[in-house]
Point group: C2
Chain length 153, copies 2
DNA sequence: TGCACCTTTTACGTTTACGTCAATTCTATA
DNA sequence: TATAGAATTGACGTAAACGTAAAAGGTGCA
């Protein structure tokens, strides 16, 4: 039950309790590699998005977990909720054609795309309003800082 | 202490406990006129953003409250937090030039504008990523729905 | 052997802007 | 007078995605 010492995970010959050639990562390495915190990884597991193996109580992340994490992060980036991501990933079936999964993903994506476009419109609107207000405020400041201009000369 | 009956607030001669010509609105009317809920108005009051008078326990919103509410809603629209809005409004002084208020507003606005632009960039990025993914998914669906095309003929 | 570092579980805290009761009171109207 | 429609306060709930502590167990290295 010896573990890899941190930083040399690649060059080792551990007990291969699962498969040959698997390079397992512990939580710290995962966090570093993917730019997330330990808490986040545990949180995702708690939500059923990840399922690392265990060596005793230590989490060991496989290639599969890494792929899933990548998907989660992509989903997060485009604005899906974790619940959505889970719903889509839960449909994954390595033995089938995954048509249902793909359809669901596409459906959710279309809706999310619409949301994003709406959001963008809102933001552009806000930018416009804010710019207007700023111009007005600047004008008021000018009038207050140089009122003598209309008196002198 | 008679109140205006709902719907005829304009045509009345009430007791003018405050000022002449004030057309006071109760919370329901305010909500309807500004498209917010009662809860929202009470919440804003709780946060010190509004300060309606009272007739007994009934809230009466003055012209001033309406102006403040408009500002709140504008602030909300451009993405300020209520705390920011309050901070800016708290500087308002009817007897002064309000230079400090204006400077603060401008400062906050510049920062908010930067945030909005950043957000817009993020959203556009997300839209791009999502569109890519969707194209990929569509492609996968095509390959799954018509695999006979590469066999037939 | 001692220490620094990694990891674990559990569980409450954070943020923002309200929503949603619940119980009660007031008021106007038929 | 009965009833429906406003209004009140109080207080817990919600959403999402973690943050942050606490207390403890392993482990490699000097």
């Amino acid at each position: 039950m010896k573990l890899v010492s941190p930083g040399e995970a690649a060059a080792n010959t551990n007990d291969m309790s699962v498969e040959a050639g698997e390079d397992l990562a512990r939580i710290g390495e995962m966090a570093k590699n993917y730019g997330v915190t330990l808490r986040t990884l545990r949180f995702y597991e708690d939500k059923g998005l990840l399922n690392p193996q265990r060596d005793g109580s230590t989490r060991l992340y496989t290639r599969r977990d890494k792929a899933r994490l990548k998907l989660i992060l992509l989903g997060r980036k485009v604005g899906f909720s974790l619940r959505d991501v889970k719903q889509m990933m839960d449909l994954y079936d390595p033995t089938g054609s995954n048509t249902k999964q793909l359809r669901l993903a596409l459906d959710k994506s279309e809706k999310q795309l619409a949301r994003l476009q709406k959001q963008r419109a809102l933001i552009e609107d806000a930018i416009g309003e804010l710019s207007n207000s700023m111009a007005a405020v600047r004008q008021m400041l000018i009038e207050r800082s140089a009122p003598q201009a209309s008196v002198a000369s």
